[in-house]
Symmetry: C2
Subunit: 271 residues, 2 copies
């Protein structure tokens, strides 16, 4: 049994390409449609109702491409909209919160830090998921709003990013967290600087690899993986193509890009 | 003769409140409708076609509120969309580029720096407008993408903003520009740090005051100012209300906010 329909991957912009990268490594034979809502990026500074509406529009676009499952490769959309997406979708929808929590629980000795956007941290979803069944775990949350623009600017080393990271992370370090969830798809781009500020012995938890495992298990369990002999394809949809798109995307995906197709998420009739 | 219809003021988000502030000071008897496209902010990192579409949608919303004129209080939208807005609008449309250029030409000794978003600087509009009729003027442009998130984060003093400003501005200082156009409505929030990096003797040109003069002249010339005895009103429309909206808005406007109304710019039928 096999299913050659693509896996839909959705992010507010290009940060989710770090998740796509892990999926391409774990499941190279699958076909992918990646959708970045680059016209309305970022989501992480916006309100819950807006994020939920944007995510629903993105899901409709992916469903119109006949995807067999959807990966919400955006922590903000996963934190604020996953339940409503799962309720309304005819195909399985995977978020990035649960895999990150699962990965943190594997390594922590009991004190977990979580960093993310204002909306993700404000939602409390990580804390809720970490403490579900593990009420003894201490959780310390911190929103880091400048990390996304720093990563998009490609300013990932030197004194300025170091000081910004110090500004956001010193409390977490001083509180003695032993594991830190990188709760935003942009943050792996800043991993070196975050590791330097947190110091040795703090596990940095990047949910992309654990998520890819979860997607692989899902495909295996319902026999919907693509045929073994297939070699996968990749389509890239965006709602805006800024000047520096190709340059940015290569930084996040780590390979040459396919041609991009421009889509209008706003013209869809609600339904 | 008098005209009590409101003046519509439009920005990608809340940066334009610095322009509204100057309008409220110069023309306190006018009624205002301010529209911030907070669901899709920022515009400055996005492509020309997207910015033009967003600006057209904002203009339609303001026209539906029976405004007598429109102020595009966003340098990115002014740089990329002013011509099409003016072509399609039945009422006068003012941008912030021309007033900034006019103000710079009054003070410069011949070497002007321009800072703005990636889209504004990429458009070349400031340079074009500065050199029109003044081909002898030297113009040096620099995009400063992190200034907007810094201003929104309220991180306007200390070593980090200082170093970021130094990173973007040192070339302009070393080249000897004598006047610097703050080509983004967020930048007045960072004025102290920009002034410190540029040093004494460099004029910082903030277009808000000159724009307010231009709007006042426009109203006077066609007899459409509001009656002298009137005291003005202010309505605030936004496409998203993030958690920290009130806090941010007060930083930019410098006074208590009226109640905000949520609008959906995307549901409008084109035409």
């Amino acid at each position: 049994m096999s299913d050659s329909r693509p896996i839909g991957v959705f992010d507010s912009g290009i940060g989710g390409l770090t998740v796509l990268r892990a999926l391409l490594e774990a499941l190279p034979r699958e076909n992918y449609v990646y959708l970045g809502d680059t016209a309305r990026v970022p989501y992480g500074t916006k309100g819950a109702a807006t994020i939920e509406r944007f995510a629903a529009e993105a899901m409709r676009e992916l469903l119109s491409r006949d995807v067999k499952s959807i990966v919400v490769a955006c922590n903000t959309a996963s934190a604020l909209a996953l339940e409503s997406l799962q309720r309304d979708s005819p195909v399985p929808v995977h978020g990035v919160i649960e895999p990150g929590v699962e990965a943190a629980l594997r390594v922590t000795r009991g004190h977990v830090g979580v960093i993310g956007t204002l909306a993700t941290i404000g939602s409390g979803r990580y804390e809720e998921a970490l403490r579900l069944g593990h009420p003894e775990i201490a959780v310390l949350n911190k929103a880091c709003p400048l990390f996304v623009p720093l990563a998009e600017e490609g300013w990932v080393e030197g004194s300025v990013p170091q000081q910004i990271a110090e500004h956001y992370l010193h409390e977490l370090r001083e509180a003695g967290v032993d594991s830190l969830i990188l709760g935003c798809t942009h943050y792996p781009i800043l991993k070196n600087i975050i590791a330097a500020v947190m110091g040795d012995g703090v596990h940095l938890v990047d949910s992309a690899v654990v998520l890819a495992d979860a997607v692989a298990r899902g495909l295996a369990s319902n026999g919907s993986a693509n045929g073994q002999s297939a070699s996968g394809t990749l389509s890239l949809l965006v709602s805006d193509v800024p000047q520096r798109f190709a340059q940015l995307s290569q930084r996040f995906l780590g390979r040459e890009l396919p041609e991009v197709e421009l889509v209008d998420l706003e013209s869809q009739v609600a339904g």
